[in-house]
Structures are given as structure tokens and as C-alpha cells.
């Protein structure tokens, strides 16, 4: 009885959460105006791809899509590399003042991102990177939360593994590459999702540093779309589908590692 009640509640909540998504997908396949009729329709009367055609042909959203994809992938790959190296070093290397430095880094997390935006913008302007990919890649090269996450995970790797590899003849980079990185897979997957989602969904920063339409990322382009085409909910829904689809794919692909990552540390094997 209790189970049935619980499941009913869960299904109810799931439905409420999913309806907007489903409607978004459904509306993106409707002709102009069909989404705003009363009573609302959940299934399109006539199925059409015209909204997508408009998006890609007339509004060059393909370019924005590529911007988002390339930037998110680059930031994810590069920051994973840097974060994992830094996290490994913070966890395992004997460096004087290591913990002090780490605490300093951690304490900088309390500074809101918005506060650093202006100085960061000025720095990038001075470097001449405004309106280039670098303006998004450089601030994302490494992030403290990522270093922290990897360091915590790395601490649980026994020292003797590293020592055994050293005796086996591996140098520092090989130990990192052949021993540490494979063992970090779950946490790297978790961090990859965080970073990819963060970069993909980021709106404010690309809006600040990108000045050309062709350099916009999807969220920025989508916002412009909303301003210009307020009367076309179907078109906006198609834009939204294009925006969240890759995110969902990434999440589903890495989900099994992600779950591992969330649980790590809570249970000792």
C-alpha cells in the first residue's frame, strides 16, 4: 500500500516535470500559431520540420551550434587535463606549503563569479582575445572545484600504487598517464558532465565577450531569437530542442559514471 502511494506520488511529480519538455518537443514540430490555440494541443495536428528549417537556413543557428559544441568540448578536454594534473599533484606530491596553497585556492571559491567578470573582461581585452574562442577557453582552463574534486578522489588512491609504478620504471608523467588517469575515470566523467553542461549552458559570459552574431553560442543566439521572434513560440521551441539535445545525450552517455561519481566517498569499498 505504502509502495503504491509512493509510486503514485513519484509518477505524478515525474509527469509534471516532463510535461513542459514534451510540450517543447511537440511544439517544435508544429506550424506557426498552432502552439498558441486554446485548448492547447499536445500532439501536433500536422507534423512539420519547418521550424528547424528556418532555424538552420535563415537564422544560421548551425554556426552557433558549432560554436557551442567546439567550445564546450575544448573547455571540457583542456580543463580535465589541467584539473586532473593539479588535483593529482595536490593529493600526492610532497611540496612545501602545498596545503596552504590549496586552502587559498579553495577559499577563493567564495568570491562570486560576477565579481570577477569585469577584471577578467579587461584582462582578456588587454590580451586581445575579446570576440574570439580564447575568451571562453582561457577562463575555463582550470577550475578550483574541479581540482578539489579530483584531489579528494586522488587521496583515496594508495601511495603504494604510485611507488610500485616508480620502481617499475615509470616517470612522473607515465604514472599520471598510465596509473592515475585510468583510476580517475569515474570522477573525470562526473567532472566532464559538470564542465560540459556549465560551458554549454553558460549565457552571461559569452554574451559579454562575444560581439559578433557568428561568434554567439547557442544560449545567446536563442535569447536573441526570443527578442526578435516573440510571436513564434514554435520557432523558439525548436531552438530550445536544439540547445538541450546535446546536453541530454552527454548526460545519458556518462550517466553510469556520473552515478558512481556522486556516490564516491560515501561508501568505502
Amino acid at each position: 500500500m505504502k509502495r503504491i502511494l509512493l509510486h503514485t506520488v513519484l509518477i505524478f511529480i515525474a509527469v509534471i516535470t516532463l510535461i513542459p519538455f514534451l510540450w517543447m518537443i511537440s511544439a517544435s514540430f508544429m506550424f506557426d500559431g498552432h502552439a498558441s490555440v486554446f485548448p492547447p494541443r499536445f500532439i501536433p495536428d500536422q507534423f512539420t520540420l519547418m521550424q528547424y528549417e528556418r532555424l538552420f537556413e535563415r537564422l544560421s543557428i548551425a554556426q552557433n551550434f558549432i560554436n557551442s559544441l567546439v567550445l564546450s568540448l575544448l573547455v571540457t578536454v583542456i580543463s580535465l587535463a589541467f584539473n586532473s594534473m593539479a588535483g593529482y599533484a595536490f593529493a600526492k606530491y610532497k611540496i612545501k606549503g602545498k596545503n596552504k596553497l590549496f586552502n587559498l585556492l579553495i577559499s577563493s571559491m567564495i568570491i562570486p563569479a560576477q565579481v570577477t567578470m569585469l577584471p577578467l573582461f579587461l584582462m582578456l581585452k588587454w590580451m586581445g582575445f575579446i570576440n574570439t574562442y580564447m575568451a571562453i577557453i582561457i577562463p575555463g582552463l582550470a577550475n578550483i572545484f574541479g581540482i578539489f574534486l579530483i584531489r579528494q578522489y586522488c587521496i583515496s588512491i594508495p601511495d603504494s600504487l604510485i611507488e610500485a609504478a616508480r620502481i617499475d620504471g615509470a616517470n612522473d608523467f607515465l604514472i599520471y598517464r598510465k596509473i592515475i588517469l585510468p583510476l580517475l575515470t569515474p570522477v573525470l566523467a562526473t567532472l566532464a558532465i559538470f564542465t560540459f553542461l556549465g560551458t554549454w549552458n553558460d549565457f552571461l559570459w559569452p554574451l559579454i565577450v562575444m560581439t559578433d552574431d557568428s561568434m554567439y553560442t547557442l544560449p545567446v543566439a536563442l535569447a536573441n531569437l526570443m527578442l526578435e521572434h516573440t510571436k513564434d513560440p514554435e520557432l523558439m521551441m525548436a531552438g530550445s530542442v536544439v540547445t538541450i539535445l546535446p546536453v541530454i545525450i552527454v548526460f545519458l552517455a556518462l550517466q553510469k559514471y556520473y552515478m558512481k561519481g556522486i556516490m564516491m566517498g560515501s561508501v568505502k569499498e
Partner: protein, 371 residues
């Protein structure tokens, strides 16, 4: 294969604590040397210095006559087996064994040959494609040993390799490692806190305490001629019994008298010279559990002394019985063959064999040497 020499080696940490203090050990070619001592005695640190995992603060370590103080671990031609096995969890057994060889640029054929050979010796042929997590504790331990064997190093270092295994497996692996030592003709340095392992495996045992070497000797000599009270107590299980007392001289004869005067006897002549030479008075009488016997009727000989003691606990182990009793507030353990029936709290007479007793100076804790 090679000899290893530690010359006045010390390890001093940043906060000035001495983990290892002026240790000198000569390890001959093909010798099985065991470093043994209680935890925190510096034995593992010593091993790690030989391996190159710890810096050497003072002194020199030589392998084959060459000073290796500043060589990185990979260039020392050593292999180490860790307490927690330290197998690479994401690699199969084969890859684990091959890792060191690949890094040393051996060709594929040679790697395969060596791995097959090691797998044969260790009985791992069937498990080469498994990951470590699919192996039992004993098998993991064998892989860890295999990883050392395939490298064919000059020196094998073992850091408490058996302490994570259950008792039965430990006994089995113990004999297996001894067999390997003979089969490979390797120089082995082996660290353990278990004196039974040390006694059964080592050609030579180094007993350490507080970073210092207490005694380096063969297992039998350690047992029969411990240099001091610590070694006497540490080697042997159950450990040696001690009775506090003093040596009295009367009519040019030496007597031992326990602290509360419940035991007095004439000391054998062999102790005379050293006792008088060093004018030793306050001593510990040391006697091993197997040299104390329960007195049965009229069994006392001239060489035996009677000790009256109150029984506290009897532990029948099947083939032998351990009797715990107290004498002048000190616990006395005696070992008896077979099964023994006696009552708790009963006061019994025990016989001590005078030929088997030791004396330790209370001040220096050194054994009063007799030849």
C-alpha cells in the same frame, strides 16, 4: 644477484625525529635477511630507503659495491612487494606483470617468455587475463611477487607481504616465498613485525627497536643468545618470562634472590666471571616458557630450581598447554606438552632448568654473556 650494504644509515625527518638511527647491515649475495621489530621501529623506513622511496639522511647504501644514495628507484635494479600488493587495478594480471618490462623496452617475445615462466612458478597461468579484483588475497599476493620476479632484479624487497592474508594462507605463502628464494637464488630483504615469519624464513635476522639495530644474527642464535632483554622478549612465542631480582655474593658464591625474596638459588658458575667483572647486582632472570616444567613427584634434579606460583589461566592448545601463573606480581607463562589438568587459583610448584636461564642487567638491559 648482489650484495647490499647499509653503512651508518640514518633517516631524520624535518621535525628532527630519527626514524632510523645509524643502521649498519651487510647483506650477502643470495641471503634472505629479515628486518623485524615492533611497529614504529624503523624497519619499513629502512627498506624504503633501500628501494629509493625515502631519502637517506645520513650514511650510504651500496648495491654491488656501488653507492646508490642518489639513484632513483628505477635505476637501482630492485623490485618491491608491497603489503597491500599495490596491483594496478585497471590492468589484467598479464598487464600488471608486463608493465615494468614494457617500460624497460623489453621486446614482446621476451616479455611473454618471462611472464609465462613467472606464472608457471607461481601457479598463475589460469589467471593471466583476470583483473586483480577477481582474484583472492593469496592470488593477488602471488601476482605482486610475480611482478617482482619477471624483472629479475638484483635485490627483492618485501614489505610485510603476508600481513593482509589470513592465518592459514600466511603459513602457505611463507613456505612458498622460502621456496622461491631457493629456486631463484635471490638476495631478499624482508620486513615483518611477526617474529615467527622472521624465525622461519630468514637466513639472518635484524632485530630493530626505536630506529636502532638491536642484534643481527641467525634465528637460532637470536633465540638462544639474545643480546638484550628486548630481543629476548621479542623473539619467541609466548615470550620469555622475567623475574626481577638481585645477585648476592656469599662465600665467593653467587646467589639469585627475587625482589620479594620468594626465590633464592645458587647461580651456575658460568655467570661468575662476567657478573664480578661488571659488578652487576640488579638483574632480570629470564627463562623461556618451554624451560619451566610443572613439578611431578620426585622429579627434581640438582640443576633445577623450584618456583612456587599461583595458576591464573590454563590454555589447552591440543598439542600443548599454556599455563599462566603469577610470581611476585609478574606473569609467568609455561609451556607443557600434551594436555594438562590443573585447577585455577591452585598454587603449583614449577621447575626451572638452571642450564637454560639468562640474566639481564637491569641498568643496561644487556644479557650477561656466558660462553
Amino acid at each position: 644477484m648482489a650484495e647490499v650494504i647499509l653503512k651508518n644509515v640514518s633517516k631524520i625527518y624535518d621535525d628532527n625525529t630519527k626514524a632510523v638511527d645509524n643502521v649498519t647491515i651487510n647483506i650477502k649475495d643470495k641471503e634472505f635477511v629479515v628486518l623485524v621489530g615492533p611497529s614504529g621501529c624503523g624497519k619499513t623506513t629502512t627498506l624504503r630507503m633501500i628501494a629509493g622511496l625515502e631519502d637517506i639522511s645520513e650514511g650510504e647504501i651500496l648495491i654491488d659495491g656501488k653507492i646508490i644514495n642518489d639513484l632513483p628507484p628505477k635505476d637501482r635494479d630492485i623490485a618491491m612487494v608491497f603489503q597491500n600488493y599495490a596491483l594496478y587495478p585497471h590492468m589484467t594480471v598479464y598487464e600488471n606483470l608486463a608493465f615494468g618490462l614494457k617500460l624497460r623496452k623489453f621486446d614482446k617475445m621476451e616479455i611473454e617468455k618471462r611472464i609465462n615462466e613467472a606464472a608457471r612458478i607461481l601457479g598463475l597461468e589460469k589467471y593471466l587475463n583476470r583483473k586483480p579484483k577477481a582474484l583472492s588475497g593469496g592470488q593477488r599476493q602471488r601476482v605482486a611477487v610475480g611482478r617482482a620476479i619477471v624483472r629479475n632484479p638484483k635485490v627483492f624487497l618485501f614489505d610485510e607481504p603476508l600481513s593482509n592474508l589470513d592465518a592459514k594462507l600466511r603459513v602457505q605463502m611463507r613456505s612458498e616465498i622460502s621456496r622461491l628464494h631457493k629456486e631463484l637464488g635471490a638476495t631478499i630483504v624482508y620486513v615483518t613485525h611477526d617474529q615467527v615469519e622472521a624465525m622461519t624464513m630468514g637466513d639472518k635476522i635484524v632485530v630493530m627497536k626505536d630506529g636502532r639495530v638491536q642484534q643481527i644474527d641467525t634465528p637460532l642464535n637470536l633465540y638462544n643468545k639474545p643480546v638484550n632483554k628486548f630481543v629476548a622478549e621479542f623473539i619467541g612465542s609466548p615470550s620469555m618470562n622475567f623475574i626481577r631480582g638481585e645477585i648476592l655474593v656469599e662465600n665467593a658464591q653467587l646467589f639469585f634472590q627475587s625482589a620479594l625474596k620468594n626465590l633464592t638459588f645458587l647461580i651456575p658458575d658460568r655467570f661468575k666471571a662476567p657478573v664480578i667483572k661488571h659488578s652487576i647486582q640488579q638483574v632480570w632472570l629470564g627463562i623461556r616458557p618451554e624451560d619451566i616444567h610443572l613439578k611431578t613427584e620426585n622429579t627434581q634434579t640438582d640443576n633445577q630450581v623450584i618456583l612456587e606460583s599461583k595458576i591464573q589461566l590454563i590454555e589447552p592448545l591440543g598439542n600443548q598447554t599454556l599455563v599462566y601463573s603469577t610470581f611476585e606480581d609478574q606473569q609467568i607463562i609455561s609451556e607443557h606438552r600434551g594436555f594438562l589438568s590443573s585447577r585455577k587459583d591452585a598454587t603449583e610448584q614449577f621447575l626451572i632448568d638452571k642450564n637454560k636461564i639468562h640474566f639481564f642487567d637491569q641498568e643496561t638491559e644487556l644479557r650477561i654473556e656466558t660462553l
